[in-house]
Symmetry: C2
Subunit: 317 residues, 2 copies
């Protein structure tokens, strides 16, 4: 199958690497990061993961999706805030049988894509792994143990299933533990709920995960976000999130207590736009749609948006 990855930064390149390693033969990487695209086209891609370092060749690359022709699978991997813009520039490579896949983090990415194509040609999901792009042509993956790549169709169809099972086969042959689910939403909501709590609260409080956990008000904010997300998921026909989160708290604190999650890194270290709209912001949006109150998510999303719009003005001592 012909596959294009629109947005081939750290995560996009890692996914491309696993697919190629797993046997996918016709992969286009598309990104504005010229040095990376040129290096991959000339010398191939280095994928470093816990199993070793792999030199993968045979990719095609482009700076824009309008020069690559019609694809069988288009994987959207731009920042969540850029999805609609990416779908517009990707229009030339999306034909009547193309399946569009989002493996972006967070909630609501599928909604953004369904504004452009029918929902029986949309697959959504995400990977459970850390990724980095330390230099052009080199990407690093730290996949979680167990099921670390989960995705499924927005609405089941022959086209979606063909694309999904192909991706599942290639990811698995490449070394991941992927699963193509009929209903992937519980897995996406588990991850997004977990991230929404600690990402947003750590960013606002300027604390590590363990430090938030140790503060009674900080951890109460995380629990409140998790409860609101679980209530919204329940209203959407996705039960069991709250029960899952009871166990998740101890896992997150044990494994990641000493870290600043990505939103805190975006906000505190890099002063760049965060993924809040795909996390607490998306929980608020889904809550409105399904009649579930999400006051904590509403308020904290506003705080993050106001902060990211005013980095240069913020008082910092």
């Amino acid at each position: 199958m012909k596959i294009a990855i629109i947005g081939s930064g750290a995560a996009g390149s890692v996914f491309a690497g696993y697919l190629r390693k797993g046997g996918a033969e016709d992969i286009w990487l598309v990104d504005l990061y010229k040095a990376h695209m040129d290096k991959v086209r000339k010398d191939g891609l280095i994928l470093r993961n816990p199993a070793g370092e792999f030199h993968l060749t045979g990719f095609q690359t482009a700076y824009s999706a309008d020069e690559i022709g019609i694809m069988d699978i288009v994987i959207i991997m731009v920042k969540a805030t850029q999805t609609e813009a990416a779908m517009r520039t990707a229009a030339p490579c999306i034909g009547p049988e193309t399946v569009v896949v989002t493996l972006q983090n967070g909630l609501g990415n599928d909604e953004n894509i369904k504004k452009f194509i029918p929902d029986d040609r949309v697959i959504f999901g995400c990977g459970n792994m850390g990724t980095e792009l330390p230099e052009p042509g080199v990407c690093v993956a730290k996949p979680a143990k167990g099921n670390n790549m989960f995705f499924g169709p927005s609405v089941k169809s022959a086209l979606a299933d063909a694309a999904g099972t192909y991706l599942e086969k290639c990811f698995a042959a490449g070394g991941l533990e992927p699963k193509y689910y009929d209903d992937v939403r519980p897995y996406i909501w588990r991850k997004a709920t977990s991230n929404s709590g600690f990402n947003t609260v750590c960013a606002i409080l300027r604390l590590k995960i363990g430090e938030v956990y140790d503060d009674s008000n900080g951890v109460a904010l995380v629990w409140d976000i998790w409860k609101e997300a679980s209530d919204v998921a329940e209203a959407m026909g996705i039960p069991g999130i709250w029960e899952y989160m009871q166990k998740e708290m101890q896992n997150v604190v044990t494994n990641l207590g000493d870290y600043y999650p990505s939103m805190a890194q975006d906000m505190l270290m890099h002063q760049r736009q965060t993924e809040v709209t795909a996390l607490t912001g998306a929980i608020s949006d889904y809550g409105k749609k399904h009649g579930v109150a999400t006051p904590t998510c509403d308020v904290l999303t506003r705080v993050v948006k106001a902060q990211e719009a005013n980095y240069a003005k913020q008082f910092v001592k």
Copy 2:
């Protein structure tokens, strides 16, 4: 009347100065700030205000309230978080006819005092002015124009009215525009509502008042706090706050747009405990008591409390 001011920092000293200037003859200043107490006892108090600089003498001072005897009026001016501790140490100077007055900023100070004495001997209120204590023995007042000192009885009584009208007379003769109201709550709620919005939001966002006003999410948080406070006040039988706040917004932004309010100063510049429990925290508490939802105040109070408990750990770049 014999008056003690428990907590004679900037605001306590300013109020003492105006009372003495206005003819009060028997005033005790009580504070742990030894250099200030010693200077006032030896050389008197300098009060600087827009009308000039006044050298006031004849005060008595003490480091603790247990050495000064029974008072007619005890004015509590410690930090809001210290009120209950102050009432315990002030016990020796509170007799069966003593009226206790809180002129502390914020909401709920009267509740803390009524835990210790009957409510018909409690007066509460506050001043509408900036105060400073630049050096021992010197205090500075910048009173607002118009009614700038407002207070009233918790429950009307002969004792409370005698104390309240005496204070009103002395403050007025001293140069303020005080008023002793039968029901002072509307005036306290106006000021506390205004402060709760900008104090809390500016502190969390690390922005000046005008910068918050210019950000759609920032100003929405202020409006949300104001609406919740107005709803709580309404439920308590204090109508009209919301209508008042409509005009207040433009006044605050015009007059104070370029400033960090006191909570932002406490949090950002001095990393010290804030007055959040007497502002958004108090709105939350009153909301619970009167069955009014205050989600924005609940969430943002948690954020401030978590931040002030973790100043040393916060990531700052």
